[in-house]
Subunit: 503 residues, 2 copies
C-alpha cells in the first residue's frame, strides 16, 4: 500500500499554505530577481518544486472552493450564470456559499480522525451555515471575506474576523487595525498556526492545517519590521512577512518532531493581480494575471515539503492542480474516497514520492461558467479569450499591462471554438508564439484536445450556481458573537437581487 | 592585500564562460519552468547568483569587446557612426576589429605570466591582425564570426574556423558540418577547454580561459544526444548541450585540484534574440530582447563559482557589468592597472568575497553611438527609446513580441531627453510601470541621474569607430592556412563602402 510505504503506517499530517494573489514570479526559487524569500527558497531546496501548479479559477472564492472539494467551480457551485463567463466571488453581500451537498477534504479527514483548522481567509461563504466548523473543520480563526475597507459601519459594515463560529472583532477597528498598511495580522495567523501544531503534537492526533493569510491581496499589509525592507515596496514587505511565517511553521514542525510525518504544500489561490501595478505581485514571464485564464492568471507557485519522504531539491514536471490535493492526501492517509463522488483532481502521491513518474492529465480552465481553455501535455488550447474589458481599461485597470497580442489578449469575449488558439506552454510558457493552424502539429493536436473537451463537457454535471444572488441584508451587520462584543449593527431589510459581475 | 586574503598568494585562474544570445530567463536557477540546466543550477548552488548582471551592448561584437577591454564600445571603437544609434557588429565583410591601442584583459594577464585561451566565437575582427593571438591570447580554437550559412563559397565564402592564426576548416563543410542542426561542435569546444585546463594543471601556470560557444545563436545546434530531449525544442537542446559542457569544465577543475584557486563566471553576451521566436531563448519577465536597451536586451545571467572562497548558494544584489571582470580579475591577481587606462568597469572582488557588501555604480546603456539609458541604484532612466523598426515588423521580426507599451517600445528612435522615462527595475524588472513625472520620486531622482549622465558624457573620449567600413574583399576567401588545406578562394577586388546598419 502506497501510504504505508510512504510513512510507515502513521497517517501523515497535511499543511496547505495558500497565499492570496501571490504570483508565479514572486519567489526567489521561481526567479524573482531580488531573492527576498529565503524561507521559501529553503523549503524548495528541501522539497519538490512544481513549476506547473494550476489554481482552479483565476480568483479567490472559486479557487478555494475547488481546492477543498477537489472539484471544478462549475461542479461545486462556485460560479454564477447571471451572465456568460464572469468572474464571481463571495463579497460580503453574497447570499450563497459552499453547499452542504459538497464533500470537503476537511470532512473526509475528520471522518478519518483528523483534527482540522482554517487559519486565515475562508471565502467559501460568510453566513453561519457556510463557515468552516459546519464543513469539517474543528477550529477557525480569520475572516470569511476579503479585507477590504475601512467602511463606515453605516452604509457598509466593516468585515468581521471570526474565531470558530463567532465574530471576535472587525478589520480596521480596534482589534485588527491596519494603520498605514502596517499590521501584525500575518504574525497572529502564524502564531495561531504554530500553536495548533503544538496542540497536535501534544494530543498526537493527525491534523490538517489550512493556512490562508491574505496580506498579498490588495490592500497589502505587513508587519512593521518589514516596512521599507523590500526592494519591491509594500507588496514585497508583505511577501517577506509571509516568508517568515512559512519558516516559523516549518521550524515548529521540526521542533515538534513532526516534519518527517507532515506533507506541507505552498501555493497561491490565483496569479498576481496586475491591476495593482507596483502594489501587486509578479507572474514572471507568464501572460496576464488574476481574472484571466492565461498562464499568469492560473499558474501559481507550487512547493511540496516532506523531509525524508519526498526527494529534496528536486523539480517535478508533473502538471498539478489544487484539486489534486484532496485525492492525493486521502491516498496518503489511506482513506477511501466516497462512492459516487465525482472529482476533477487526481491522486498524484506517486509522482511526489518518485519525481521521475508522470501522470498524463488535462486541466480545464474556466472563467465562471465558460470553459475558456484546456491544457494537456505541453499544449494549451484557447477556445475563448478575454483579457481586460474596455470599461476597466478606461480607468487604467489592466489585467495584462504592457502585454498585447492581437486576437489573444482581447478586450471582449471572443469565441475561437471554430479555430482555437494553440500554444506549447512548456516551450513557450509566456503564451507568445501561436502554433500556426496550418502546421502538422496543430492539425494533429487540436482534434485530440477538442475530443477531450467534448468528453469533459458531456460528462459535466453543473451544480446549482451559488454566486447569483446578492443582498445587503446578509452583510456583516450582526454576525454571531456581536452581542457579546456589543458590536451588533442593524441590517437593512432583505432585498435580494441578481449580483452583477462585470468581467 | 585583498588578493592574498582570497587565495593565499597564488594568483587565481579565471574562466569566463560567455554564451551567445542566451537569455536571462533560460536557466533553471533564473526561473526557467522546465529546469533543464542541472549543471548550471548546481553551479549556482555552489556559487553566487547575480540577478543584476549587465552586458555592455545588446549584441555580440561590441558586448565582447567591452568585456575584454573593460571599456564601453564607444570608448574601445566597437561602434559605428554611419548613422545615429545603430547596432553594428563584425560580419565577415567588416573591415575593422579590435584596435592595437586597446588593452585587453588577456594582454594584462599575459604580462603577469598567465596563459590565456579563447575557445569558441571571437567576434572582435576576423582579419589576421585582429585575431586573439595578436591580443594577448596564447591559443585559439573557434571562429571569429557568427556561424551563419551555409554559403556557396562563390558569392560568399563559408565562415572559417581557426586554430591559432590559421584556418583549419569551414562551417558547413566537411570538418564542421551541421546536418539538420545537429553538431558535435559544442563538445569539441568543451574538450578543447578541458584539455587546456589539464595542460595548465601540468605546467602549473596561472590561466585565463575564455570559453565562448555559439550554439544558442541562430541557427542553433546541439549534439545528437540532446535532440528531442528538451521541452523547448532545438534551442532547449542547445542549452542542455552547453549545460553539460559547463558541468564538464567544472568537473575538470575539480579533478585537477584547481577549483579552490579558480574563479569561474558564467554569463551571456546579450539577451535572448526574441526575433527567433520558438527557436530563441527567454528573457523571463524582462522587457524585449537582443538589439534593445530594455532589460531583456542587456540584462543577462550571471553566476560566479569559486568553491571555498566565495560563499556557496548565495545571491548578490550588486549590479555588475561584464566590464567589471577586467579590473576585478586584476585585483584578485594582484596585478596593477596600467596608468592612464580609462575603464568603465569597477573592481568588485570585495562584493564577491563578502556578499553583504555593495558598491554604488552607474551603468550606461548604449545602442551604437547613442546613450539610450542609465541605471543607477534601483532606477533606470530612458533618455531614448527604440524597439523594433517598422521594416522589421513588416517581415514579422519583432524585438519585443507580445509586449507593447505606448511611448516606450517605440517603432522609431524617440528622444525623451526633455522628459525621460523612469522605472524602478528592482521593484519592476519588467519595466512595466513608469514612475510618474509628477511624483516626488521622479522629481528627486531624475535630476540626479541626469547629472550622472552629464558627467559621463563630459568625460567620454570617443574612440575612432571600427565598424563603419565594409568590403567583400575582406571576407574569408583565403585566410591564413587555406593553402595548406588547398581551400583558398579568390577574393573579389577591394571595394570598401560604408556599412549599412538598419537598426
Ligand atoms: Ca486571491
Ligand atoms: Ca550574441
Amino acid at each position: 500500500l502506497l501510504s504505508e510505504e510512504a510513512y510507515g503506517g502513521n497517517p501523515p499530517n497535511f499543511v496547505v499554505m495558500l497565499m492570496d494573489d501571490l504570483g508565479w514570479g514572486d519567489l526567489g526559487c521561481f526567479g524573482e530577481p531580488g531573492r527576498e524569500t529565503p524561507q521559501l527558497d529553503r523549503m524548495a531546496r528541501e522539497g519538490v518544486l512544481v513549476p506547473a501548479m494550476y489554481a482552479s479559477a483565476p480568483l479567490c472564492s472559486p479557487s478555494r472552493a475547488a481546492l477543498l472539494t477537489g472539484r471544478l467551480p462549475v461542479r461545486n457551485g462556485f460560479y454564477s450564470d447571471n451572465d456568460l463567463g464572469r468572474n464571481a466571488y463571495t463579497p460580503q453581500d453574497i447570499v450563497g456559499g459552499i453547499a452542504d451537498e459538497e464533500t470537503l477534504l476537511s470532512e473526509l479527514l475528520q471522518q478519518a480522525g483528523y483534527v482540522s483548522a482554517v487559519v486565515g481567509k475562508w471565502h467559501l461563504g460568510h453566513q453561519e451555515k457556510f463557515l468552516p466548523l459546519q464543513h469539517g473543520f474543528d477550529s477557525y480563526f480569520g475572516s470569511p471575506n476579503c479585507h477590504f475597507g475601512p467602511y463606515d459601519d453605516v452604509t457598509t459594515p466593516n468585515i468581521a474576523v471570526f474565531r470558530d463560529n463567532k465574530m471576535v472583532g472587525r478589520y480596521y477597528e480596534k482589534e485588527f487595525d491596519f494603520p498605514g498598511h502596517v499590521s501584525n495580522y500575518t504574525r497572529l495567523l502564524t502564531e495561531e498556526a504554530t500553536s495548533f501544531i503544538r496542540a497536535r503534537a501534544a494530543d498526537a492526533k493527525p491534523f490538517f492545517l489550512f493556512w490562508t493569510p491574505d496580506s498579498t491581496h490588495a490592500p497589502t499589509y505587513a508587519d512593521v519590521q518589514y516596512v521599507g525592507k523590500s526592494g519591491r515596496g509594500r507588496y514585497g514587505s508583505a511577501v517577506q512577512d509571509l516568508d517568515a511565517g512559512v519558516g516559523a511553521i516549518l521550524d515548529e514542525l521540526d521542533r515538534n518532531g513532526l516534519s518527517n510525518n507532515t506533507l506541507v504544500v505552498f501555493s497561491s489561490d490565483n496569479g498576481a493581480a496586475l491591476v495593482s501595478k507596483t502594489q501587486g505581485g509578479s507572474n514572471g514571464p507568464l501572460l496576464c494575471g488574476k481574472q484571466t485564464t492565461f498562464e499568469g492568471g492560473m499558474r501559481v507557485p507550487g512547493i511540496f515539503w516532506w523531509p525524508g519522504t519526498i526527494p529534496a531539491g528536486t523539480t517535478t514536471d508533473q502538471v498539478w492542480t489544487h484539486m489534486d490535493f484532496l485525492p492525493t492526501f486521502l491516498e496518503l492517509a489511506g482513506v477511501a474516497l466516497p462512492q459516487n463522488l465525482t472529482l476533477d483532481g487526481l491522486p498524484l502521491s506517486n509522482t511526489l514520492l518518485h519525481p521521475e513518474l508522470h501522470i498524463s492529465r488535462s486541466v480545464f480552465l474556466y472563467r465562471g461558467n465558460l470553459l475558456m481553455a484546456v491544457r494537456d501535455g505541453p499544449y494549451k488550447l484557447h477556445l475563448w479569450t478575454w483579457a481586460t474589458p474596455p470599461h476597466l481599461l478606461e480607468i487604467d485597470d489592466d489585467f495584462c499591462p504592457g502585454q498585447r497580442q492581437p486576437n489573444v489578449t482581447t478586450y471582449n469575449q471572443v469565441n475561437h471554438t471554430d479555430n482555437p488558439i494553440l500554444y506549447d506552454v512548456v516551450a513557450d510558457p509566456a503564451e507568445r508564439y501561436q502554433i500556426s493552424n496550418t502546421s502538422s502539429v496543430y492539425k494533429t493536436v487540436v482534434p485530440q484536445l477538442l475530443a477531450l473537451v467534448e468528453q469533459h463537457v458531456n460528462n459535466l454535471q453543473l451544480a446549482e450556481p451559488q454566486l447569483n444572488w446578492c443582498d445587503d441584508a446578509v452583510m456583516h451587520w450582526a454576525p454571531p458573537g456581536c452581542e457579546e462584543l456589543g458590536r451588533c449593527l442593524t441590517p437593512p431589510p432583505s432585498a435580494p437581487h441578481l449580483c452583477y459581475w462585470d468581467h
